[in-house]
Symmetry: C2
Subunit: 229 residues, 2 copies
């Protein structure tokens, strides 16, 4: 990987989009794709795509384009999804259960290997989810036994160390979110996917991405009012 000094974050986000489209192209047995064709399918300019990729090295073949399998491999490598990442989940409510059941994670190289909840009634209980997804080998199936048992948050640090877990999903009510974020940070979690409608204060070395449906809907409500005829 060449000159990775200061990559714009929007470029990283688009890398995921490129990968998604490449998976689609591979399913259609396309061997190569030009930045122009890729951009047309995604509503992104061809130069943008080349610039984004150029932050990470030289992937293309002048006159030919990008070779689909090669580019997929290299983009996955950049994103860190060439190996399966272990993820922990805090919050075994409605949303938490839906996330455990969600097949899309495993297909993209993420496995929820531990679930935590502070509710004493839930601790020790099974959480039923997608433990029988596609990409499962013996090792992953073994890990999925952890997945079935809800643990107390005090176990988090031990789980992070034992399992080399870097990513945590936060799916608790807004009032509890900051406390859980603090626990995650001191447990050694490096990145948090936050579903609580709250702004999290975390140490600088911890990355946060927030998914707030209300924020999205409000943005759309605004755009629906102030565009068009």
């Amino acid at each position: 990987m060449a000159k990775m000094d200061h990559v714009p974050l929007p470029a990283v986000r688009r890398l995921s989009i490129y990968l998604r489209q490449l998976e689609c192209l591979q399913a259609a047995d396309r061997q190569t794709v030009s930045s122009k064709a890729l951009g047309a399918a995604l509503g992104i300019s061809d130069v943008q795509i080349r610039k984004d990729l150029a932050y990470f090295g030289q992937f293309g073949h002048p006159g030919v384009g990008y070779r689909v399998p090669e580019l997929m491999r290299r983009v996955r490598r950049i994103l860190g999804t060439d190996r399966t990442s272990k993820v922990l989940l805090v919050g075994a409510g409605n949303l938490g259960r839906a996330l455990v059941a969600f097949r899309g994670f495993a297909e993209k190289g993420f496995e929820i290997v531990a679930v935590f909840d502070s509710n004493p009634d839930k601790i020790g209980r099974a959480i039923d989810g997608a433990v029988n997804g596609p990409r499962q080998d013996a090792k992953v199936r073994d890990l999925s036994s952890h997945q079935r048992t809800i643990q107390h948050p005090s176990q988090m640090a031990a789980a992070v160390r034992a399992g080399d877990i870097r990513i945590g999903i936060l799916a608790v009510p807004a009032e509890a979110a900051q406390g859980v974020a603090n626990e995650m940070a001191s447990a050694g979690i490096r990145a948090v996917l936050n579903f609580a409608p709250a702004t999290l204060q975390v140490p600088e070395h911890v990355a946060v991405a927030s998914v707030d449906l209300a924020v999205h809907l409000e943005q759309l409500s605004f755009q629906a009012s102030y565009t068009g005829p």
Copy 2:
């Protein structure tokens, strides 16, 4: 509303965040807040906040700050959530059902008033969800009867016209997403909240916001690899 010519989209997104924090302040009976205090709580600079608000008019009181109830009212007005917005949902799978059950929508001024699915087995069946949320008056309760019955997508245009619906939530598998987006657009929907992992091609007057968990996780995976010690 003063000089609304070209507002940066990031500013609109932050407006939602400000509103969320204002709701929190109001719950704590705070009467006024300065841009500095608000920014400190949200990890945003005070100038950023004043600039964002200035796109829409003058809300503050020099030497005092912003009056919490007044600013909430005016921000809601800008976002279009001072009145309840009717929303339709396409896709009555796991995610769709979870969204119907989600309380947060009603609290923020959004009501799912119609649900569509192309699966013949589901059409006409009830979809159980949060029809007994807090903010319910007679009119809303009446609308919730629609909510209980899954309709065929061919009914969408009629529902949009009859109910003055501007926003659609798209919760179908990726393969079906573009087709549904087309149907939404020709039904007159003006904004789409897309949960399918696919890029949608829509007419210019239709706004799209996408929530793709894989994209978020991949971004975090990248950040977790290339930051810190």
